[in-house]
């Protein structure tokens, strides 16, 4: 049901785990729906995402999109990361089965959530 790229990304995901010195964290989804994604970012003073990682509870599509999306925003500015769409993530993966498209929304939402938390909480405290 999944293409080789998705399988590869799922079985060997990048950026897994918790980032100890993260200053932007966002969690979306819930266990009842079957998927949760938590994203950790370390954003520097120039608003560049220096490092990023994730923890995901969910299906193979959710894990693969988490992996790809974190890879895509690493080294990008906050503004660039906010422009990442789930469509771009899906394209990067070479497509997802129709019933799995919603899983890719999770990554986009988690990134936005983390950055919003960073902008409202962390930056204000500075």
């Amino acid at each position: 049901m999944y293409n080789d790229r998705v399988i590869k990304e799922f079985s060997n995901p990048q950026n897994v785990g918790e980032l100890k010195d993260a200053n932007a964290v966002g969690t979306v989804g819930n266990a009842t729906c079957g998927d949760i994604m938590k994203i950790f970012m370390k954003i520097n003073e120039n608003d560049v995402i220096e490092d990023v990682s994730f923890q995901t509870f969910g299906c193979a599509a959710a894990i693969a999109t988490s992996s790809v999306a974190t890879t895509m925003i690493k080294g990008k500015t906050v503004d660039e990361a906010l422009k990442l769409t789930n469509k771009q993530v899906i394209d990067e993966l070479g497509g997802l089965p129709a019933q799995k498209l919603h899983c890719s929304v999770l990554a986009e939402e988690a990134i936005k959530e983390a950055i919003n938390n960073y902008l409202t909480e962390y930056k204000n405290k500075k």
């Binding site: 785990g17 918790e18 966002g26 938590k38 923890q55 995901t56 509870f57 299906c59 894990i63």
Partner: protein
């Protein structure tokens, strides 16, 4: 790569002797069993022989055996045909853990104005007779409770349920698709009026099933057509499949004790090892009243499909209770009916063992399962939260 199949409750391979028995009826004796000529007679003779064989094995009359396209059709026929035949009674009772063939048939009947009651089950997935006693009324036409559950293997007290139905003037049907060939099924002792089963669950071919219908019970037709099955079920008889299911049933019943003992031993070993080696695991279903081939676990903090796929990449085939795999977002209605919380239902996996599964196979699976659960938990935010990882949300 090593490949291990632990999804025997989904389907089984056709046994070589069954295949051999079927072969002549594809090209050599290809006649339509309803044709008057010699070609037809060859087919008709094979079908009669198969029907008699099945009737003898189940200790029922050959005229009580009807061939269908499978378990789903048999279930549809029993339910819909039974409901229509016993009008004006409009109440049907079933359980909340039935196979989709029954649940969906009931949903259709509800749309047509029938009242359907779905009996609850206990946390092991058992539908106790008192649940039926409390729900049944004298305007109930048909009660249908599965013999054994396909997801968690719980075996139901069919004889007691059937007695209650009869006492209230209702007929009783059971979906025995998972039970047939796995545990003893004594139709006379159970007293059921209709019983469904399917060939491919016991090393027979796909596309063939049986509805046993007790003499005197007349469900309305589901498939209108020609004179096949004493005009009760239309459609050209699938002669090779009919031959196949009869031989498969003969072998399954002949080897039942031996296979059952072996499969249960393998399953018990697997369950013991899983519980010993993997923390935060829930063994779904009833420990005692259970099909020997079934093991179903909820692995907490991870989602079933990702576990299923991780095992698949290691060559291991099992089945996910999580609906993510079937494209719907709803987790298994069976697990929810047992009271398992939604997030744990999402992380449930069924392993079903077969007569050729070895301890070596199980050890390979255990090894990979332990690794897969560890790997997925290491990336799970729920596990991190549980183990006291930083949760600065």
């Amino acid at each position: 790569m090593k490949r291990i199949y632990l999804d025997y409750s989904a389907t089984t391979p056709v046994s070589p002797t069954v295949l051999e028995a079927m072969m002549p009826y594809f090209s050599e004796h290809f006649g339509n069993a309803n044709s008057m000529h010699a070609y037809g007679s060859e087919g008709a003779y094979a079908v009669d022989t198969a029907r008699r064989k099945i009737a003898d094995l189940l200790k029922v009359k050959p005229t009580e055996i009807y061939f269908t396209s499978g378990g789903t059709e048999a279930d549809n026929w029993a339910l819909k045909g039974g409901a229509q035949a016993y009008l004006p009674k409009k109440r049907i009772i079933t359980s909340s853990i039935e196979h989709a063939a029954i649940i969906s048939s009931c949903a259709q009947l509800e749309q047509q104005g029938f009242d359907v009651t779905y009996l609850k089950c206990d946390k092991g997935g058992i539908v106790h007779p008192e649940y039926l006693e409390d729900a049944i009324t004298d305007d109930t036409s048909i009660v249908s409770v599965m013999f054994a559950n396909n997801e968690i293997g719980s075996v139901q007290p069919i004889k007691e349920l059937c007695e209650i139905a009869h006492r209230h003037g209702a007929i009783f049907h059971t979906d025995a698709v998972q039970a047939m060939g796995s545990i003893p099924v004594d139709i006379a002792d159970l007293g059921v009026d209709m019983l469904s089963f399917s060939g491919h669950k016991f090393y027979g071919p796909k596309g063939i099933g049986v509805l046993y219908v007790r003499s005197g019970i007349k469900p309305d037709k589901l498939i209108a057509g020609g004179h096949q099955e004493r005009t009760r079920r239309g459609g050209t008889t699938n002669v090779p499949a009919v031959v196949g299911i009869s031989v498969a049933l003969e072998e399954a019943i002949r080897d039942l004790d031996k296979n059952r003992r072996h499969i249960k031993e393998i399953r018990d070993y697997f369950v013991e090892q899983v519980e010993k080696n993997i923390p935060y695991v829930i063994y779904n279903g009833d420990r005692n009243n259970r099909l020997p081939q079934n093991a179903n676990f909820a692995f907490e903090f991870i989602e079933g499909e990702s576990l299923l796929l991780t095992l698949d990449l290691a060559g291991i085939a099992c089945s996910s209770g999580s609906a993510c795999s079937s494209g719907s977002l709803e987790p298994s209605h069976v697990l929810l009916a047992t009271g398992l919380p939604v997030e744990k239902a999402h992380g449930s996996i069924r392993f079903s063992f077969g007569k050729d599964t070895t301890k070596e196979d199980v050890d390979y699976v255990l090894d990979n399962l332990i690794k897969a659960v560890k790997k997925l938990r290491a990336m799970s935010p729920l596990y991190a939260q549980f183990t006291g990882g930083k949760t600065n949300v």
